[in-house]
Amino acid sequence: MIRNKKAIEMGFNWIFAILAGGFILFLAIYGATNFIGMGQNTINTETAAKIVAVFDPLETGLASGKSSEINLVKKSKVYFECDSLANPPFGQQIIAFSEQTFGTKYSQKNRGVPIEDKYVFVESILEGKKIYLFTKPFFMSLKVADVIIMGIDDYCFYDTPLEIRDEIEGLNLKSIHFPNSTEKCEGKKVCFGKTVSCDVKVSIKDNLVQKDGKKLYYVDNLVYGAIFASPEIYECNVKRLMNKFNELGNIYLDKISIIERKQCEPKIQAKLNILMAGAKSLKTSKELIRLYEQAQEIDQINEEAKPGCKLY
């Protein structure tokens, strides 16, 4: 009986081959997975960098605004972060990207591409295939920067003041509609009047936008930023803009000392110093209103200066 019992011979060679083969197979699968992941990460980083490159031709220069559109091949997510303390004194934004790979699954987002010289007012995550963007200059007596607005959703603007409606219609944006109160419109509701159920409420009188239960104060073209951006990104970018204003203020103070030698008597210096101090210490957008009033005083003084002695 014992002699007849058959057994499979598992010699050392077999065990060694199975272990080594398994190890090699594991390495190959691990390597291939990493390779695919790395390739996808490269694509995501490249796409994020290409989106940043789209911002450059949108600089307004002397224009009152510009608009453009980004059409993505697959349904994608674009992630935005903002840090007013990074890259001092200007702060920075980070843009990351991921796209649908298998079915509805998204690839892992890349580490992010930094944006230092642009001010992008946008929701924290954009999801879709078609992104629209437009730029508007932001002035606080002098031009501070261009504000870039990015969006993906449709918006329905109710009771819009004529000035804002003309500006947006001039940009030829297909995703922003101006329906009557009786017309049907699908998209985020932005109300300038007293309509009750709205996603975004704008009070022109108080320079205030109410969104996601938060109050965002605006001046000049920042109204668009407040409507389209997430409250966190809006407040962060307002701080970044004030940091930039402060740096620009230093350049203008130097210019004042130069043109003083050319028989010009600029009376802006003291007021500009006060405004710069206010901009540097800005904590929330609420302080913008007071700063803007000071900026308008500076504007008036500059307007009254001799033609050859205007500062800006």
Binding site: F12, D56, F90, E116, L248, N250, I259, C264, C309
Partner: protein
């Protein structure tokens, strides 16, 4: 006794044969691994060089589009928003202003006045607050990268001058030069 010796010799031979097979297999495995590592390195090097190429291309495109708009940016723009005009009185303030080095994406940024168009950079008179406006090269910043490609754009360079009781803008042609680091 003889039989026992034969068995012992047979076992020894079998062991030696087994050892040889293990050695062969180990060498084979090392060779296979080495082959895969080489293939991996080759693919990675191709991917890496493509990545650098793409990054440089994107950076160059950005520099090209930025440099044409730069003169109209708040840091450079002239009074009353003249198009494509650089304010020399603001430009002198930007020199040695370290905060802007990490603001723009260029690896270097300078403005060359018309009088220095045919000169080498080391022959140009560099602008400082002391010699302004009697100078030729406004070096805003230079990151001193080893491999750089420069793109330039012609601009009007204007400053305030006072003459015969009037303050006026004196303008001349200049070249705004921005560099992009080429990653190799």
């Amino acid at each position: 006794m003889k039989k026992q010796n034969l068995v012992a010799n047979y076992t020894k031979m079998k062991n030696k044969k087994g050892q040889l097979q293990i050695q062969e297999m180990a060498f084979m495995l090392v060779a296979v691994l080495f082959f895969f590592v080489l293939v991996g390195l080759f693919v990675a090097s191709i991917m890496y060089s493509n990545l650098h190429e793409d990054a440089t291309q994107i950076a160059e495109t950005r520099t090209l589009t930025s440099v044409t708009n730069l003169a109209d940016s708040p840091e450079f723009s002239c009074v009353l928003s003249k198009s494509n005009c650089v304010d020399e009185d603001k430009l002198i303030s930007l020199i040695n202003k370290t905060s802007y080095i990490n603001f723009w994406t260029f690896s270097s940024l300078k403005v060359v006045t018309f009088s220095a168009f045919n000169k080498n950079e080391n022959e140009m008179i560099k602008c400082t607050r002391a010699n302004y406006p009697e100078c030729e090269l406004f070096l805003v910043y230079d990151k001193n990268v080893s491999n750089e490609r420069a793109i330039s754009s012609y601009v009007a360079l204007c400053r305030k001058e006072y003459e015969n009781g009037y303050t006026y803008d004196k303008c001349e042609l200049a070249r705004l030069v921005a560099g992009t680091e080429l990653k190799t």
